[in-house]
Symmetry: C2
Subunit: 597 residues, 2 copies
């Protein structure tokens, strides 16, 4: 059996012990980071969530204690009482590097098997193994720090929104499935045969109802769920900082949330950021950066060649333009040196993954100018083009032309980020924050052959666009906004429709019959009849926000127990099979493979 | 279409306007509580989450404004700009009763249908209707207050535990089903055919793993789920203040949580409570109060008659004692006057619902003594009994005897609460807090014909009882503790087993083979091999805690969107049917009634 803590009580966390404690008796506890046994001298690095302190045993120690200390192995759980003293050889790498604790009472509270990987930050261990033994992986100081920072950021959010009059109100997890949006996780009901709950993709409808209830300002750190095939950085369950406000316009929502970001950066990172953030419209973002979440820490902006090539004879360009598409360029200043023909071939492959048909280029090396397309242009066009992009000797011009503007945006938008990475143009210490506004209200769904809501059907259009709802849906802008940090969307929201008449029109514009919209959103439509204040809100993706603030590459590194790509958790091996009896109680049966369809 | 807020911005919440604003221009917004139209004078009570302020319109008003004001009906959403002035007739019932706003700009931001019930606290509306229109019900100031207080209490919890070094760490909602305990909600996996996630009944295993990970102090306001047939005050989803600590003993856990309660009472209610709380053992609680969550705001304690009746000839008593049961009494001082024979008959029916076979009594009215059982006792026994209970003229003695002690506890435990209610012995303004400790480790399950864990299989037994695990399981006490407030369990927890050997013994004592325990708790047993610190924790039932602090009768009154007895939500009507296609994707099928079994 283990030893007990009987008679001892921790006095300090490991790194709270300092030179000012020299001569004092302290009690510390934690896990064994490593031991050094020099026979008549034993050192143990003891680790807790604050860091490491050295325990020392030497000639002056009781023999029994020496023997016990000699038995200690990595990850043993210890409690130690002793006297703080100056250390012989100072370790400058740790906070407690100038002192050690000469131990007079050592308790081995628990032994430990040799772990499958060493508990250290310099780990090359595969993520799969780390996740299988997540409880050990979380012992690494990097993960300890990440979870402590996540706690801090969430606490700041709660403090800030509380101080600004937001009430945290819990909304249900077992809710009604709505057929719009991504796929719901479903929960069969035992009490109501054949019926299901859904897990919320967001508390959207509940938070709007809370505004109708007069709570005025709501926030929640809300758990959300999406049963989607997971892309790189998605989780089946994720967390949102979710909020909603009444009697506000778009500026009010933006201002209060800029204040939150200012506070987080200051308190969590010690970084001052400027508010208000820059705002650019969706259209400008697409035109200049080819993205609705532009990374503006570097240049390489998209330059439209439509005007200089208006009468161009080159079929690729002329065809793109006449099809209503676009021809756009990126100028890479000084790029000729860094981008060889071979490099440009690789970039061509890169843009092709974004459906571009090719990548035209001009390399202006000091000795020779080579171009894949200038020969098809008139001299005037060539000059006009070079002038438009501002090309100088040593530069490279990269051009994509396509009959579908979106392809030009997507491929050049991705290309500029790729170039910035390859050419190390990004100052990683910089945080770049901005708003993208004036999103389109609708996007055309090829699949459904109709306009669908780009955000959701409750998003309010700009009032001046309302009369275009049926005549020019593509020209309707929404009172919707995204917050972008370093080229990632960290949050987004909108002003909602609070006018039942306008809501009805919106459903109509989306192609729902009154019956269909009532079937989908019946209770919500009813609710709006009883007096709905103007309201709007937004939601931050907490996992991604924490990831970006901590300069991590994956949200899995800021979630204690994440799931992997196929939505399973490797530590507990879930999902798992359950008792046949439990399934039967839910009035369902598991289909055999061959019975499906 | 509605009017817009264009050009106006709220300057005050309704009740923030005060006499010090007289002569100033303010902008308020909210819902219409009521209107009074006296022709040349119109008053509108405007309501927001802070309360009510009066809008005034009179001869000095523009005609257009008067006409607009005359159109306003209950629950219309308004924004109003105007000048604060003293009020003619003061309303002492509201905070803003001495002033009103003379409106110069009125906007009807939204109209409202007549609601199905009036938005007022004096409501006799059926709860079912309130829940169907929950968004209207939540407008009532009583519900607004409840949700604001709930927010405040949760914020205090987060502040307090943060200040005490607890990290809030989110644990997953989609987890592995464990076969112990109550019924899990199950979530079919689309990606892994035939497999299921479960929703957590509590984060128990994850929080223990976080201690193994070295986080030292964890807390979470955690959503929990139980698919049980709902008793009066249970919800399928509920919220816990969940916490866990490393390197602590039972006292440490209790102390930190007493501190939390002290803080909540002070900050939320302005009430000072004394710490440390009284502690009584489970055994003492049962012997004295017949309950493991005793309400000690009043007396009426259980008095054991075993010794005075040891040689009693009365078969009912003698039989109970010889069967290993108990004979216990409650003395009701001055009860003779209040408890007629007829009243006692009712109480007899009452105890029978707790399986008591009857209720013996003695009424000591000043003029006559009547008793249902004293005739069967010897004179000495009668005297001894009266002496033991301390009976005096005017009192009533109530006795239950049963061969099963538990029946005596249950029936008299319930009876003393019932008596306290009927005799108005409870000072409802008082808060009574205590700990119940030394719970039995096991309880015998008739159904399974074995000892099962009273708390859970990870609860640590008292060290001095470990050697009784196999020889006298009923005599093993656990390091488990409940916090009791006014006779309700508001929280509970335990020190956990951190010794793998002891854990193995515990599984054995619970009748699990090593294979069975490994199948159930495999990854957890593995985890404990790698160094587990001593740890323990507890969880508060947040819904119930808020309910008690606010003197509510139902947790539904402190949950924004609760479910009813049959686990459905009446506003959205969920659970509901879903598309056949969505079900098929989950590799399950709904069973027809006749196909079941």
């Amino acid at each position: 059996m283990n030893e007990t803590m009987q008679g001892l009580k921790r006095t300090h966390y490991c790194t709270e012990v300092s030179e000012s404690d020299i001569g004092r008796e302290v009690v510390v506890c934690g896990f064994t980071q490593k031991t050094r046994d020099l026979g008549n001298l034993i050192f143990i690095d003891l680790r807790d969530r604050t860091g490491i302190v050295q325990l020392a045993f030497d000639d002056a120690s009781d023999r029994a204690i020496m023997e016990k200390a000699a038995k200690v192995r990595a990850e043993f759980v210890l409690m130690a009482k002793g006297t703080v003293r100056k250390r012989e050889s100072v370790n400058t790498e740790i906070k407690t590097g100038t002192i050690e604790i000469f131990v007079t009472d050592l308790r081995i509270l628990n032994e430990a098997k040799t772990p499958p990987f060493e508990i250290t930050d310099e780990t090359s261990v595969k993520e799969e193994l780390r996740l299988r033994y997540r409880y050990l992986d979380l012992r690494r100081s990097e993960m300890q720090y990440a979870m402590q920072m996540r706690h801090r950021i969430v606490k700041i959010a709660r403090d800030y929104y509380d101080e600004n009059g937001f009430l945290e109100i819990e909304t249900p997890i077992l809710i009604k499935s709505t057929p719009e949006g991504a796929r719901d996780y479903l929960v069969p009901s035992r009490v109501h045969p054949g019926k299901f709950y859904a897990l919320p993709q967001s508390p959207q409808q509940y938070k709007q109802l809370l505004m109708l209830s007069g709570f005025d300002r709501y926030m929640q750190i809300a758990r959300c769920f999406r049963d989607e095939d997971l892309r790189a950085d998605r989780q089946p369950e994720f967390t949102q900082i979710d909020l909603e406000m009444s009697f506000v316009d778009q500026d009010d929502v933006m201002t209060v949330n800029e204040g939150f970001m200012k506070r987080v950066f200051k308190e969590a990172l010690g970084v001052d950021i400027e508010t208000p953030f820059r705002r650019i419209s969706y259209e400008e973002a697409m035109e200049r950066f080819g993205s609705d979440k532009p990374d503006t820490r570097f240049g390489l902006e998209l330059i439209d060649l439509g005007d200089v090539l208006a009468h161009c004879a080159f079929k690729v360009f002329a065809g793109a333009l006449s099809a209503g598409g676009a021809v756009k360029a990126i100028l890479v200043p000084g790029g000729a040196e860094k981008l060889s023909r071979k490099e440009i071939d690789k970039l061509t492959d890169f843009v092709k993954t974004y459906k571009a048909k090719g990548l035209a280029y001009t390399r202006l090396t000091p000795d020779k100018e080579t171009s894949s397309f200038e020969k098809f242009l008139s001299e005037e066009e060539k000059t006009a083009l070079r002038q438009k992009v501002g090309a100088q000797t040593g530069d490279v011009i990269l051009v994509v032309a396509d009959g579908d503007k979106q392809v030009v945006y997507d491929s050049l938008g991705a290309l500029r980020c790729e170039l910035a990475k390859r050419l190390s143009l990004i100052d990683e210490s910089k945080f770049d924050l901005l708003w993208v506004t004036d999103f389109p209200q609708f996007e055309y769904s090829e699949e459904e052959d109709r306009y669908v809501a780009k955000h959701h059907p409750f998003t309010c259009p700009k009032l001046e666009d309302v009369d275009k709802l049926f005549t020019d849906p593509a020209g309707v802008h929404a009172l919707a906004y995204d917050m972008v940090l370093n080229g990632c969307e960290v949050g987004g929201g909108s002003i909602r429709i609070n006018d039942p008449e306008l809501q009805e029109k919106m459903f109509e514009a989306l192609g729902f019959t009154p019956e269909a919209s009532h079937e989908r959103f019946g209770y919500l439509i009813d609710a709006f009849q009883y007096g709905a204040p103007p309201h709007g809100g937004m939601a931050f993706g907490l996992d991604r926000l924490v990831m970006l603030l901590l300069h991590k590459d994956s949200i899995r590194d800021v979630i204690a127990f994440p799931k992997v790509q196929n939505a399973s958790e490797l530590m507990t091996m879930c999902p798992a099979e359950v008792d046949e009896k439990d399934i039967r109680e839910l009035h369902i049966a598991v289909m055999e493979k061959e019975n499906e369809e």
